[in-house]
């Protein structure tokens, strides 16, 4: 005859406590994502303006982020732009986001979820979302998809990117003037053309003011892993580098430089506050102009898929900000000159002759690199040490 012993009851209680713990963990995550959605388009406001808007609700826009919003770098920059969209359009849009979406099949589920919640415009903010987004876009024709840094498009999916290498070049100009050891260090994330292009541009910027500069590169093979970024930065400093740049998403490299009394840059977002003494400048991405433009297209009904844009200093998407007082005035003037040239379209960074670090001429004298060339860079320019790891090819 079955009976409930005290023990089995106690065990049951324990299991439910475990379940409760897990549930709390799940909830705390969800709360973060929903609170931000509710605030700007609060109910009474929406109701008041609903009448003139011809019974049409706000355009629902969703963002999928690869990192946490609080990374202070890449994802932080995207989220700032999302906030700018809300501010710009007021109650005409309603935005939401999901953070830490892995660059894997899981992303597809998130995109479908977003569409299921009524979002009509979905931004995927990292390269690895390309295939999942393409698959989702093929099934959900009435949803518009925007994919950052990718190269595959569909009739309802287009791509956008920013010319981060322009920021890297301007940082390089400062680095070349500030280094005492003539050795720069870059903490690389994943060896894809975008990142290799940044390392090269950084080096070229430095060489424009200091031809003796060489650059050491250490790859961590991840976008976001602060302890690993710290270790990589430390090993570069140990190897003699005294100005560092990174293509990873946190401020760890900058802080490591600060601890060691060296210099470094902020990347993607303004990182001055993390290490004021080590910070030389921040190369930032401003996604807001593009996001506002894309949302405007969707509101106007002029949104068209299939294309891709690549915005830089010219469009206000890239900038170098918070240049430190330690940077001498003539160097600052040089950077401002480069910025003005990029803005006006008179200055070209990738202009031949360009020689790889194996001595091969990769771009002939007198030619400007086109975007196809830029998208396939898998070599280091002269002055960068080592060899490009045989990574993903675009």
């Amino acid at each position: 005859m079955p009976r409930f012993s005290k023990r089995s009851f106690v065990q049951l209680a324990g299991w439910s406590a475990v379940a409760a713990l897990a549930a709390v963990a799940g909830c705390s995550k969800k709360e973060e994502t929903t609170t931000t959605t509710a605030a700007p388009a609060s109910a009474p406001m929406a109701a008041a303006s609903a009448a003139p808007a011809a019974a049409k609700g706000p355009l629902k826009v969703a963002f999928a982020y690869v990192g946490p919003v609080g990374d202070g770098g890449w994802t932080f920059a995207h989220d700032n732009a999302r906030k700018a969209v809300e501010k710009h359009f007021g109650d005409k849009v309603q935005t939401s986001f999901v953070e830490k979406v892995p660059e894997a099949a899981d992303a597809e589920r998130v995109f479908r979820d977003m569409a299921g919640q009524g979002n009509k415009l979905i931004f995927g903010t990292t390269f690895g979302y390309m295939e999942p987004m393409l698959k989702t876009a093929a099934d959900l024709k009435d949803v518009k998809f925007e994919h950052a840094t990718g190269y595959k498009q569909a009739e309802n999916m287009r791509t956008y990117d920013s010319r981060t290498y322009e920021g890297a070049y301007m940082a390089g100009v400062i680095a070349g003037g500030m280094t005492k050891t003539n050795t720069l260090g870059v903490v690389g994330s994943i060896p894809i053309p975008e990142v290799i292009r940044n390392i090269n541009s950084f080096t070229m910027g430095a060489q424009s003011v200091n031809p003796n500069v060489k650059t050491k590169v250490v790859w961590v093979n991840e976008w976001f892993n602060p302890p690993k970024e710290t270790e990589a930065a430390q090993s570069l400093i140990n190897g003699g580098a005294d100005v560092l740049m990174q293509n990873t998403d946190s401020s760890a490299v900058l802080q490591t430089a600060g601890k060691a009394g060296k210099y470094a840059f902020g990347w993607d977002s303004d990182m001055t506050a993390y290490a004021p003494n080590a910070h030389l400048a921040s190369s930032i991405i401003n996604w807001a102009p593009y996001y506002i433009n894309a949302v405007q297209d969707a509101l106007d009904g002029t949104w068209k898929g299939g294309g891709g844009v690549w915005w830089g200093v010219k469009e206000g998407a890239i900038d170098i900000v918070s240049i430190s007082d330690k940077v001498p005035a003539d160097l600052k003037t040089k950077v401002e000159g480069v910025k003005a040239g990029l803005k006006a379209g008179t200055f070209v960074i990738w202009k031949g002759p360009i020689v790889s670090n194996e001595g091969k001429e990769v771009l002939a004298a007198g030619t400007n690199a086109d975007d196809k060339f830029m998208g396939g860079i898998n070599f280091y320019v002269k002055g960068v040490e080592g060899k490009v790891p045989g990574g993903e090819k675009k």
Binding site: R7, V10, Q11, A13, G14, W15, A17, V18, L21, A22, V24, A25, G26, S28, K29, E31, E32, P68, G70, D71, G72, K100, P191, K216, V217, V218, W219, V220, N221, F224, N225, P226, P227, E229, T230, E231, A232, Q234, S235, L236, N238, G239, G240, A241, S250, S251, A252, Q255, G258, K259, A273, Y274, A275, N277, E385, G386, K387, P389, G390, G391
Partner: protein, 306 residues
């Protein structure tokens, strides 16, 4: 290369210290028969607790203390579940890890943009100026030396003290220990608390000394590596410390080689630390009785006092 060798050694010791604290804590847990898979979660919560304390007080030591308390508090919840309510240790530990990831992110929101003041540099007067050895060994944060002292202390406790013997007995055969009149559950709970506190110190060390910032998920798997380390080290304190340095050393070496422009794919180098641990594991497990002798016989098993 010769110039940077001392710096490489210094970085290795620093990197190994993070793993050593957590792994020593987990070693004590497992010697008492409890497997706590919640290390990652405890370290994360301790990291945010430690960081927040340093932000408000400016004192690293208070931060490490707060980390220890936070780790112990998390461990206490886990201990009550698995020791008195006899829930499955693996499931509860995993729940603790998942909870810690979410909870630390939640309470840490306001600290993501915070920064700590200038970090002090430490050195041992006199010894720090010895060429080569000075920069390699004597310019470390005090916690690096504490980790070594702690390893010695734990080894002494486990193998030379009476209470250490009781702790091991509880991990080998809780029934026998119970029959002899030892309070098995309370001993296990104490071990869990100490383990949690040490994981907490490790987490707070990461966020206030090693990488002085707070961002979500910043422990980035170190808790799991520490868990694996205890097994690789066959539950011996000295081997745990050596294993931590080995792992830290291979990690630093691969970055170092990349910086030197060594023509090896970086993906391969990234794999090295894991490869090294697997090799060590294979070497150790060639002798099966060796593992059996060192492994606590009742590890992971609940105990019902009659």
């Amino acid at each position: 290369m010769m110039d940077s060798l001392p710096l490489l050694v210094a970085a290795t010791l620093n990197s190994g210290t993070v793993l050593a604290f957590a792994a020593l804590g987990l070693l004590i847990n497992e010697r008492a028969g409890i497997v706590n898979l919640g290390a990652e979660g405890m370290m994360l919560v301790a990291a945010v607790a430690g960081f927040a304390t340093v932000v408000h007080t400016g004192n690293d030591w208070l931060g490490l203390g707060a980390g220890a308390l936070a780790g112990a508090a998390m461990a206490a919840a886990f201990g009550v579940l698995v020791i008195w309510l006899n829930t499955n240790q693996y499931a509860s530990g995993l729940a603790l890890s998942l909870f810690g990831v979410g909870f630390s992110a939640f309470i840490g929101i306001r600290y993501t943009q915070e920064k700590l003041g200038e970090r002090p540099n430490f050195q041992i007067p006199g010894l720090a100026d010895i060429p080569v050895l000075g920069p390699a060994l004597f310019r470390q944060h005090p916690m690096v030396y504490v980790a070594i002292a702690l390893t010695v202390a734990i080894a002494w406790f486990l193998y030379r003290s009476r209470s250490g013997l009781v702790l091991r007995a509880v991990g080998e055969s809780p029934e026998s220990a119970h029959a002899l009149g030892y309070p098995v559950r309370r001993i296990r709970f104490a071990a869990v608390l100490v383990g949690g506190a040490l994981c907490g110190i490790s987490g707070a060390y990461v966020s206030s000394v090693y990488t002085p910032l707070w961002v979500e998920g910043m422990i980035a798997g170190k808790g799991w590596i520490a868990l694996a380390l205890t097994t690789f080290a066959t539950w011996r304190p000295a081997r745990v410390l050596l294993g931590a340095y080995l792992f830290g050393g291979v990690t630093m070496l691969q970055f170092h080689l990349q910086g030197e422009g060594v023509q090896v794919p970086s993906q391969f180098l990234t794999m090295l630390p894991y490869l090294a641990t697997i090799v060590v594991l294979v070497l150790i497990s060639r002798n099966a009785s060796f593992i059996r002798i060192n492994m606590p016989a009742s590890i992971g098993k609940p105990f019902f006092p009659g």
